[in-house]
Amino acid sequence: MSPIHEQGERFVQPTVPTYNPSVSDDTPRHLLDFRGIYRAFGRLKVLRNVNGQARDGELLLITGANGSGKSTLLRCLAGLMRPQKGRITCVQNGKDLRLEARRRQVGFLSPDVAFYSELSTLENLELFAKLRGVEPARGGQLLDRLGLPRNRRAGALSSGMRQRLRWAFALLHEPKILLLDEPLQNLDAPGRRDVCELLENHLTDGLAIVANPDPMDLPRVDHHVELAS
């Protein structure tokens, strides 16, 4: 693989060891690997040749200024947007996930995710649980764990509570791959402690990719990609 900085690209952080399936001796149970991701909006190139990887138990942190393409990258990884170039490899429990499967299997958290404001928090989670074929009781458990009221309309939640509900949505189907865009936004100190605990739990087996403008307090950071604007 050719080193990318030689081509004079704007960024790309080579701290990640190159993943080469044919060479690696132990096949990871979970893996998210992206190579040469390119996405432009019209002539505005947001992502140019971005690479990164995380395996089970690892956390990949993506930082960069506003507009550097963190959210775009995470949307591409979640299958909510199509990169124009590049390859995304996603393995969960040893199984290769294609685009459609990846979209439904990953846990995704982003400030853009919103919930049905006419429905209560519990009704929202029960709906998504039903759609994912998950036990509906799981919604209530997560609400209790995150200290959220069950019968409050989602439209009447404070911004911190909405962020907790996003966490509940992301963890609902116990995904092994978590994509977190600004996961600590609007959370108070107990909230940050709660979700960090949940993240730590998740990392005993799963992997996570976290995007944030600045480096932040996380249980662990194994790889770091800095996107230049």
């Binding site: 432009a40 909006f41 019209g42 002539r43 505005l44 190139k45 947007m81 199509r82 124009q84």
Partner: protein
């Protein structure tokens, strides 16, 4: 090679025009409402080929669109877009020539003949395609949505072109497969259809190349076009 093809297209179309205006005989029974416009039937050599070419245009657009939805290469989107744009021009010309002929022959520009209904809906449909493209900013989303819309046209097309004309109780147009015409007239019509269809494909490929160039990022001013 390309030059030879282009020149033979010009020669062919010139030949068709000369044959249509000078060589082909006049069609019987098409000399105007009061029999005072015998030359008017010659419009058939332009009206029918234009209509046929615009039908090909829209089928071409649908094929490129479906290809795009499978392969997702921007080139296929440019081809579909170009086919619609050029096809729309052909379609408008077919409508206008038809309306003029209808006025001469039957006294009214428009009378909701089933073929007029089909072409009116086709005009609306592909106008809608272009306005949908204008309403979506992201090229990927734009290509995807407009390709799906043009593929949807395949469902509507058989109704417009085959079922509804047969259903209608009256029509100024010959029923599909029911037309009988003079051999010489038929020959020129077929030659004109071939010529205009080739003309369409030539214009369409030029337009597709233009669209590809417009979209390519040769310009260094990345930030100028920020959404």
């Amino acid at each position: 090679m390309k030059n030879i093809l282009r020149w033979s297209l010009w020669l062919w179309i010139s030949g068709v025009i000369v044959a249509a205006l000078l060589w082909a005989p006049l069609a019987q029974g098409f000399s105007g409402l009061y029999g005072d416009a015998p030359q008017s039937s010659r419009i058939v050599f332009f009206h029918v080929p234009l209509a046929v070419a615009s039908f090909f245009a829209f089928m071409t657009a649908a094929v490129w669109s479906i290809l795009y939805l499978i392969k997702r290469h921007p080139k296929q989107d440019f081809h579909a877009h170009a086919a619609i744009e050029v096809g729309l021009v052909f379609c408008v010309l077919a409508t206008v020539t038809g309306a003029v002929w209808s006025k001469v022959q039957w006294g009214k520009y428009w009378n909701w003949d089933p073929r007029q209904l089909s072409i009116a809906i086709a005009l609306l449909f592909y106008g809608a395609y272009l306005s949908a493209r204008g309403a979506i900013e992201d090229p990927e989303v734009r290509a995807r949505i407009s390709a799906a819309y043009s593929a949807l046209g395949i469902v509507v097309a058989p109704f417009l072109f085959f079922i509804m004309p047969r259903m209608a109780s009256f029509s100024l147009h010959p029923k599909p497969g029911g037309a009988e015409m003079d051999r010489a007239i038929g020959t020129v019509v077929v030659a004109a259809i071939a010529g205009f269809t080739a003309l369409f494909y030539w214009m369409q490929s030029l337009r597709a190349r233009m669209l590809a160039l417009e979209a390519s990022d040769l310009e260094p001013e990345d930030e100028l076009a920020a959404p």
